[in-house]
């Protein structure tokens, strides 16, 4: 099959699947929403001092190696941009403040806990769950290690324990699901010395965020990141500079997943077992991987010439 032919074939599969199962299955759940239940965190970048207490608290709460508290005050880590990893579910990065070099902008990153999580939709075995309180959690017993969530997430959040041969896990911030269940605050929120992280009802946080921007119009830009992005997220940010400057992706207000979600929900509604879908998608994956290898070897050959 030539490359073009294959592409056409895939396109057709996509279109027919979408058409047969219909997209209506996604919105069918709207009635389940209970506004008061969704919690969130407002991250105020204008307040964060980059002490990385949140990082350490997160480590401790998740039984990850935490180390000495004083180590976290070493600001050398800020020389390189970091992303959440299997070893740290949240990381703080630092950016220069052109207005005052002595007060740089520090930004905490973690899972945004999207209202319409792409990871949930992409996961073909339903290992991800969007919980009523907003938290997007992951179940080790269901995961088959396909890593679609990693590809689907618009914020590049889920990470995979490549270094573990036996039962590698997908690692990401779980909004401290176990803690909040017991009425505790998320570990990072509880340990931030300046309360740059405010935990609360998402709707209330939105009001709070907008009030804060209105009160300090010179300090903040007129935007609450996460209000609309990919259909809204539980974690919200306000900042003194444009979010692109803080390495936030520019995203529309439509939920990230499109056809994938439709396929998945559609298939579930027709009781087609996920494993079969996995087999089918696995085939697609295998092919695209092979294609990549081919092009790579072709370019290599060209380079050799």
């Amino acid at each position: 099959m030539s490359d073009n032919a294959r592409r056409d074939f895939l396109k057709q599969v996509g279109i027919t699947t979408a058409a047969t199962v219909g997209l209506s299955s996604i919105t069918a759940k709207a009635d389940e929403y209970k506004s008061g239940e969704v919690q969130g965190v407002l991250v105020d970048i204008g307040v964060c001092v980059g002490c990385r207490n949140c990082e350490r608290a997160c480590q401790v709460a998740h039984n990850l190696p935490a180390g000495d508290p004083e180590e976290y005050h070493n600001r050398d880590v800020y020389k390189e941009f970091r992303r959440p990893s299997t070893h740290s579910l949240t990381v703080v990065n630092e950016f220069e403040n052109p207005k005052n070099k002595l007060i740089p902008y520090d930004v905490k990153y973690q899972c945004m806990h999207c209202n319409h999580p792409a990871c949930v939709s992409a996961c073909i075995v339903g290992a991800f769950t969007k919980n009523r309180n907003g938290a997007v959690t992951w179940d080790t017993n269901k995961c088959i290690g396909c890593r679609y969530c990693m590809v689907a997430c618009p914020f590049q959040i889920p990470t995979f324990e490549y270094d573990k041969a036996i039962q590698p896990k997908i690692m990401k911030c779980d909004f401290c699901f176990e803690r909040t269940k017991e009425g505790l605050l998320p570990a990072c929120v509880a340990n931030c010395p300046v309360e740059a992280l405010t935990y609360g009802n998402r709707d209330e946080l939105l009001v709070l965020a907008k009030k804060r921007i209105a009160r300090y119009p010179d300090k903040y830009i007129q935007k609450v990141f996460g209000e609309d992005e990919v259909g809204g997220t539980s974690w919200l940010y306000i900042a003194p500079v444009d979010f692109e400057k803080l390495m936030f992706p520019t995203l529309g207000d439509k939920p990230a997943p499109g056809v994938t979600e439709a396929i998945q929900h559609g298939i579930f509604s027709y009781f087609i077992p996920p494993l079969a879908l996995f087999g089918w998608l696995g085939g697609v994956m295998w092919l695209s991987k092979r294609k990549k290898e081919l092009t790579e070897s072709e370019t290599k050959k060209e380079e050799d010439k």
Binding site: I26, Y33, V49, K99, L185, V194, A276, W280
Partner: protein, 417 residues
């Protein structure tokens, strides 16, 4: 061709799988779907959140019977953004504690955490703050009445109903770290906190002993500051500091916040000569111009050379520029005592009576100019000697006394001013 075969076999394989799996696991899938449906939420309700104007708590001077707009030029003045009008204004805040009246050391032990309490050297901080915002740097919204406890508004626990006000831990840390991290370039805990288990009373006693007699060195004010800028043509900006503070009554905090502290306390400065007169500034273009722009509106907008000159500027000489000598009677006045309209200094009438309506016979104490009039002369009208009431000109004696002239002859005796 090979690929085609692989692909077809894969499809067949999946189809077989579908059938087998569906048979074996249909029930399981149904269950899974059920649990999923009850666990998941994928939709967030309508959002129409309109920000309201916050209804500030009214403390202290906010209760005074004046329109807020008299001093503030924004809707909602806050601690960080009080938007005070900078130009000459009446001081409304009348109750002001001296730093020495407050406690010397305060133990901050209300918040429990990984570290121990903080023995806060209140007095020296208050002394420093005199130049960078005063008591209300910390005791915001509360400048006139009795000093409120921080926890009156700031909750001692993070989990609370009203999340619009930072909790006590955050309020403290924001207050301290905002300056301290700029000088220390760190957010380490131990420069303020004692270690857990350490006796705070003992640390407090030690500090009390140290600071009882120690005061922060007095804050000195430069006469002028010369800025070397990167402005094209007109590198130098000379700022006559004392003139602005003395003559216009501008308070330190109008321009300075914590930048004064940094000038001495920045840990990286220790490496270079502390006494060096040249200091690099961390301020942005806007931060440099904002304090000036409140009064020098037009100059900032379209007359850079008003401040930016090729070399350090001479001090303003009233006589040279305007022809009116401030010496000897007007040297200690604030500019706005004569130039009543802010920003408008031109076209003043140089005639004394245009300001002094008491320069009339019987009301004016002539001794003040150094001559006590004798009886004959004190009965005269001012204009008999001072033609057209021009007091800045020498009096004309020749109208009555042939060959007499001031100051050879005087109409009385010399007196002490």
């Amino acid at each position: 061709m090979k690929r085609k075969i692989i692909f077809t076999s894969l499809l067949i394989f999946s189809l077989v799988f579908i059938i087998v799996y569906a048979k074996v696991d249909n029930n399981k899938a149904r269950e899974q779907k059920k649990t999923q449906a009850s666990e998941t939420v994928t939709q967030i309700g309508n959002k129409t959140i309109v920000p309201e104007v916050p209804n500030d708590k009214k403390y202290g001077h906010a209760m005074m019977p004046v329109d807020c707009k008299t001093c503030h030029d924004c809707e909602v003045p806050t601690k960080n953004n009080p938007c005070l009008k900078a130009c000459p204004r009446k001081e409304f805040i009348t109750i002001y504690h001296l730093p020495e009246e407050g406690p010397t050391v305060v133990s901050l032990d209300e918040v429990k955490g990984d570290y121990g309490a903080v023995a806060f050297s209140h007095k020296v901080h208050a002394q420093m703050s005199q130049m960078s915002g005063g008591c209300e740097t910390c005791h915001h919204y509360n400048t006139t009445g009795p000093v409120l406890k921080c926890k009156t508004c700031h909750s001692t626990t993070r989990q609370r109903a009203d999340i619009s006000v930072p909790d006590l831990e955050a309020a403290f840390h924001r207050q301290c770290l905002n300056c301290h991290r700029q000088w220390s370039h760190s957010t380490d805990c131990q420069s303020c906190h004692v270690l857990k288990g350490q006796n705070i009373k003992q640390v407090e006693a030690e500090k009390l002993k140290k600071f009882k007699t120690y005061s922060h060195p007095p804050l000195t004010e430069p006469k002028k500051v010369i800025f070397k800028t990167n402005h094209q043509g007109g590198d130098y900006v000379t700022f006559f500091h004392t003139e602005h503070t003395d003559n216009f009554g501008i308070a330190c905090k109008t321009c300075h916040s914590n930048d004064n502290c940094i000038n001495c306390h920045d840990v990286t400065l220790k490496a270079i000569d502390q006494n060096t007169p040249v200091r690099k500034t961390h301020k942005s273009f806007q931060e440099h111009h904002d304090p000036c722009s409140k009064c020098h509106v037009q100059q900032i907008e379209n007359n850079c050379s008003f401040c930016h000159q090729d070399q350090p500027a001479e001090a303003f000489n009233h006589l040279k520029v305007t022809g009116f000598n401030l010496a000897p009677f007007h040297t200690n006045l604030m500019c706005n005592q004569c130039h009543k309209q802010p920003g408008n200094f031109k076209n003043m009438d140089k005639n004394c009576t245009s300001c002094h309506n008491n320069f009339v016979k019987g009301k004016f104490d002539h001794k003040r100019v150094g001559i006590e009039l004798n009886e004959t002369h004190s009965d005269l009208d001012c204009s008999d000697c001072h033609k057209n009431n021009r007091f800045d000109k020498s009096p004309d004696c020749s109208d009555c006394h042939d060959g007499y002239a001031y100051p050879k002859q005087i109409p009385g005796k010399k007196a002490k001013r």
